[in-house]
């Protein structure tokens, strides 16, 4: 509903150590400064990376938000995939999933192509 507000809070948390400190000291006070639905508040505090992805959060914000929560890269990708299974396709923005064979299969294909050359 208010993707802009969700993204703005993530933007501040990603770039501003003071916002991070305020958020960990008093989460609700920071959340109250943004116009968020209960679903969005829940996704931000859990954090539910899969749902935030489906809500349409720009990947460049979400990737760093996940890193901030010490979520490892493969886990980050898996959480987005799970989000798609649980909530359906991305609802807004330009970061929709478009389908991909996966890094391992892709690497194998490139290796085959190199060997043929």
């Amino acid at each position: 509903m208010s993707l802009y507000q969700v993204q703005k809070l993530i933007y501040e948390l990603n770039r501003d150590p003071r916002t991070r400190e305020r958020f960990s000291a008093g989460r609700d006070a920071v959340l109250a400064e943004y116009q968020l639905t209960d679903e969005e508040k829940g996704a931000l505090t859990k954090p539910d990376i899969g749902l935030l992805y489906v809500l349409g959060v720009n990947g460049q914000l979400l990737m760093h938000f996940a890193a901030l929560h010490k979520i490892e890269w493969p886990d980050y990708l898996e959480r987005m995939r799970q989000g798609l299974k649980d909530h359906g396709q991305v609802r807004e923005g330009v970061y929709a999933a478009t389908g991909y064979e996966g890094v391992e299969a892709h690497d194998a294909r490139l290796k085959n192509e190199r060997e043929k050359r």
Binding site: K8, Y11, R15, Q60, A67, W73, Y100, G102, V103, H106
Partner: protein, 274 residues
């Protein structure tokens, strides 16, 4: 004096963040290509390096999004990303406020650029600098094109920005080097991370090395999104660098698709007359 170096390279965070997950040979080849680029830049004895980047919400957000911006400070901090994630230590990078101001005043003659006395680097600048100027001893002048929050800067304006930067660099006595950094096709930070349209990348680089203005500006955002993903919008940085080369042709010095790094890792240079 006339621009002394003009090139373009990738900046994908995976290049450092997931370095060990690529095979050793690939990783070393990518790092060597960046290393050579750094040597070539240093060999031109620059006083400053202009980095045309496509930042990812380190400074600019949709509350007040400039199409174009140039930093105007004596130092910059970065990267903003979690250090353990990006594996680049946060540091202070030198700038040159007075030189920035002179360049901005020139650029403003033709492009309505925003200036920023505060600027935090993200991987878009920090990953290239990690390889190109590992000692952080060369003043950096960051420039940005909005490639993230639509509506995006039109390609023709990205070209105009590159032309304006070139005219500005030529007009000051300092020796200025310039690079554009961005991905070509990629679907970064999505479940499709690793997807690369290598054929589209090659065609783009063919147009770039030919410095074919019309062909470079003929992509629509819808086509780029379809063929090159949301990351493909960063072609604007390459296009601005091509414009800054003022008709010179280019060479692709390295270009290999590396799925775990999420892009065709690219290093390219325009053969400008120094």
């Amino acid at each position: 004096m006339p621009l002394i170096y003009c090139g373009a390279c990738s900046h994908a965070p995976g290049i450092t963040a997931r370095a060990e997950r690529a095979d050793t040979q690939t990783r070393q080849a990518v790092e060597a290509a960046f290393g050579r680029m750094g040597e070539e830049i240093r060999a031109t004895k620059p006083d400053a390096l202009v980095v045309i980047a496509a930042e990812h919400f380190a400074n600019f957000f949709m509350n007040n999004m400039p199409a174009f911006a140039i930093g105007m400070a004596d130092s910059y901090e970065g990267p903003i990303e979690d250090e353990a994630f990006l594996r680049i230590k946060r540091t202070t990078v030198p700038g040159n406020k007075a030189l920035s101001r002179k360049l901005i005043e020139r650029v403003m003659q033709t492009v309505d650029v925003a200036y920023a006395e505060e600027w935090k680097f993200d991987h878009g600048i920090s990953v290239p600098l990690h390889f190109l100027t590992p000692n952080y001893d060369l003043p950096i002048i960051p420039a940005n094109i909005n490639c993230q929050g639509p509506p995006l800067a039109p390609l023709a304006r990205a070209w105009a920005f590159g032309e304006a930067l070139r005219a500005a660099a030529d007009a000051v006595p300092e020796r200025i080097a310039l690079i554009g950094t961005g991905g070509i096709s990629h679907w970064p930070a999505t479940p499709d991370s690793g997807k690369i349209n290598a054929a589209w990348d090659q065609e783009f680089l063919r147009r770039w090395t030919a410095n074919d203005r019309q062909a470079l500006l003929s992509y629509t955002d819808a086509e780029t999104y379809r063929d090159g993903g949301q990351g493909g919008f960063e072609i604007r940085t390459f296009i601005a660098a091509a414009a800054a080369a003022k008709g010179a042709k280019g060479t692709v010095q390295f270009c290999e698709p590396v799925p775990i790094f999420a892009v065709s890792c690219t290093v390219a240079r325009m053969q400008i007359a120094a």
